[in-house]
């Protein structure tokens, strides 16, 4: 680990960035998965940034110069993906929805990163009663159904529904509470492992303060799994947001577009055979989660040298059964 880090620092910054370096290491099927994931996630980000330009109408717009929009109209020239029972344009709401999703991901993952990493470092390094309590609490929360916890938190924060930022924050907080234990567990375990390493010992002998050891020596080594956790949690955040929205604990349609909420409203349409109100927001969720998950999975595979296919082997074509002795192929691919 440490020698690898030394070599890495000599490479240019561009090839040390998480996804870029992974792309260079990858071959064959693995590279395909990563590329598809990156493209989907990139599209998702771009859509969210340019939603105001891309969307033909506003997310809560019910009429334009030619009069109010028809309700439950099938996809056609004026409304490319049709309109909902409330008269919203489906395409516009799908595009605007990406903005809501990105905001929630950014807010929730940032908050849980800070809290989880800080608690994990402190708890793992100092140990003692604080550690015990935090572990038991984290385990209790971890074992609990995510969605239930998110519902409870969301009730507490917004009492159900609220404005754009109120809704965003209540969703993001709910997701944060669910994620903090995950970050906490991983960082704590890493910290405990690193605490016993010789370089921490020698820093102690040299008289470095605890804060300096945690901040300089442990933090940098303990955070190597974070890009992976970030992508996976981002996809979970979207699913939780959509779940909350679907149950009616999301953001009101006049404040922002939210895919889960739209799917909830679409549920009643299905029995009369109206498919466009539900299909498109759903596809948006699936593609976004798919993209983020593919990126996360690929990073996970590529981080593990036992799993990673080697370039000269050609990755996909090589038979794994023959070479059970070599470390490249025996170990398992993709958990």
């Amino acid at each position: 680990m440490s020698s690898e880090a030394v070599i890495r620092t000599k490479q240019p910054l561009s090839s040390r960035l998480p996804v870029v370096s992974h792309l260079k290491k990858s071959v064959g099927l693995q590279r395909g998965m990563l590329v598809v994931g990156v493209v989907l996630s990139g599209l998702f980000l771009l859509t969210s940034i340019f939603a105001p330009l891309l969307a033909p109408y506003g997310y809560s717009q019910l009429s334009d110069a030619s009069g109010s929009f028809p309700t439950q109209q099938a996809p056609g020239a004026q409304h490319l993906l049709g309109t909902t029972v409330g008269g919203y344009d489906v395409l516009s709401r799908v595009l605007w929805g990406s903005q809501t999703a990105v905001t929630v991901i950014v807010v929730s993952v940032t908050m849980s990163l800070f809290l989880g990493v800080a608690l994990g470092l402190l708890s793992g390094y100092f140990g003692g009663w604080l550690d015990r309590i935090l572990v038991v609490v984290a385990d209790a929360i971890y074992a609990f159904p995510t969605l239930l916890l998110a519902i409870v938190i969301s009730i507490v924060i917004s009492k159900g529904q609220s404005s754009f930022w109120g809704g965003i924050f209540s969703c993001a907080f709910s997701i944060t509470v669910v994620f903090v234990p995950q970050y906490f567990r991983v960082i704590r375990a890493e910290t405990i492992r690193l605490k016993a390493e010789p370089f921490v010992e020698s820093a102690k002998v040299l008289g470095a303060s605890s804060m300096r050891i945690i901040g300089r020596h442990i933090f940098k080594n303990a955070t190597r799994t974070l890009p992976l956790m970030f992508t996976l949690n981002a996809s979970e955040a979207i699913l939780t947001l959509a779940g909350l929205g679907f149950l009616g604990f999301g953001i009101e349609p006049t404040s922002a577009a939210e895919w889960g909420f739209d799917l909830n409203k679409a549920l009643a349409d299905t029995s009369s055979g109206i498919w466009w109100t539900g299909l498109f927001p759903g596809i948006a969720i699936v593609l976004t989660v798919l993209g983020l998950t593919l990126v996360g999975e690929s990073i996970n595979d590529l981080n593990d040298p036992r799993i990673r296919g080697r370039k000269r082997a050609g990755g996909t074509t090589k038979s794994p059964r023959r070479a059970s002795g070599t470390p490249t192929t025996t170990a398992e691919a993709g958990k």
């Binding site: 375990a189 405990i192 699913l239 679907f246 299905t270 299909l279």
Partner: protein
């Protein structure tokens, strides 16, 4: 919704790992220690939920605030004891929980335990159906993927697994409804059974609430068929979510065991690949599945809430959403706490089963 990848972790502390003396005593000790770990888990969740729900004020104002004159409201709050200090209420609540009293709902004045016994059977039935679908899809697909590792079929199956995870259960439910009930008309749109079947089963002396059993007992074949038809789509929607996880797990573990020496030995003696996978590599690979199944139960409960809402399956999750919309927070709190206990106890049982099968778990 748990993460797909289990990030490696060490868990020092908590369970004392120093009982290596004898295998028999080890298991007994493990069970006892593991059992007592349920208590802090449940206690923490109860405390967390209680104080969170009190942050927003007393439940009576939340449920009936706008509809009652202030003095009547104040009287009701006083009668229910919600004007006392929060800590007093908290300890009283803990005391009630120990005696099995989970509170009475505000909106329809029913004991929460009764709500659980009425609607719990439906959720249990849905979960079992979904688990059957998940195992029936996940295990064979995982075996196929492991056997054809890195081939096209493996790539497709892995993609299928990720797709299962990426699709929210209410969206897959919506698609299934659209395709199979609205367009093809094969299955009913929603509910657990048609009214006629319910009448048939209602005449039973002591209905279990699990419709499979009740329909079987009534001996009415059309009723049984009706129940089965209603059960298919929700089970598939919820089951596929978990099937993806099982698929990946089986694939990973079977590939792991296929590389072991004893499998290589079998191969060198001329045992066919098919037999190697199904006979030799398969069984050791099942142990991690049992462990993960425990975690899946929490995931399934979350999924069940969404599935029940999608298919109007009148179970605990559906009922929970009704109470949430009615702002009946006593009911919500009761159901959430009950579910927490159920999750903790199931995890305990799963851990014991895992320990019985695999002695290495016992420390």
């Amino acid at each position: 919704m748990t993460t797909l990848i289990e990030v490696p972790e060490a868990e020092p502390g908590l369970v004392a790992p120093k009982s290596k003396s004898k295998s028999g005593g080890g298991l007994g000790k493990y069970i006892v220690i593991r059992f007592f770990l349920i208590i802090p888990t449940v206690f923490i969740l109860v405390t967390l939920v209680f104080f969170l729900m009190r942050v927003i004020g007393d439940p009576i104002t939340a449920a009936q605030g706008g509809r009652l004159p202030p003095d009547v409201l104040a009287q009701r709050i006083h009668d229910a004891g919600y004007d006392r200090p929060v800590l007093v209420q908290y300890f009283e609540y803990l005391g009630q929980l120990i005696t099995g009293n989970f509170g009475t709902t505000i909106t329809d004045r029913r004991p929460v335990v009764e709500v659980l016994t009425t609607f719990g059977a439906a959720t249990l039935e849905l979960s079992i159906n979904a688990l059957i679908v998940a195992l029936a899809v996940g295990i064979p697909c995982g075996l196929i993927a492991a056997q054809h590792r890195d081939k096209v079929s493996d790539a497709l199956l892995r993609f299928f697994a990720i797709l299962c995870y990426a699709t929210p259960v209410f969206f897959s439910g919506l698609l299934l409804k659209l395709t199979f009930s609205v367009w093809l008309g094969w299955f009913p749109v929603a509910g657990r059974s048609s009214t006629r079947t319910e009448l048939t089963m209602g005449s039973l002396s002591a209905p279990s609430g699990i419709y499979w059993l009740d329909a079987l007992r009534s001996g009415n074949m059309t009723a049984l068929g009706d129940v089965a038809a209603h059960a298919v789509l929700p089970a598939v929607a919820l089951g596929l979510l978990t099937a993806g996880v099982f698929l990946r797990l089986v694939r990973t573990n079977v590939i792991g065991t296929l590389g072991k020496d004893y499998v290589e030995a079998g191969r060198s003696r001329g045992v066919s690949e098919f037999r190697l996978v199904t006979k030799h590599a398969y069984k050791p690979a099942l142990i991690p599945i049992i462990t993960v199944m425990g975690l899946q139960i929490a995931l399934m409960l979350g999924g069940a809430i969404l599935t029940e809402t999608t298919f109007e399956w009148k179970g605990l999750g559906y009922q929970l959403v009704q109470y949430l919309n009615a702002r009946d927070f006593v009911a919500v709190q009761g159901i959430v706490v009950l579910l927490a206990i159920i999750v903790a106890v199931t995890n305990f049982i799963v851990d014991i089963i895992a320990a019985l099968i695999d002695p290495r778990v016992r420390y």
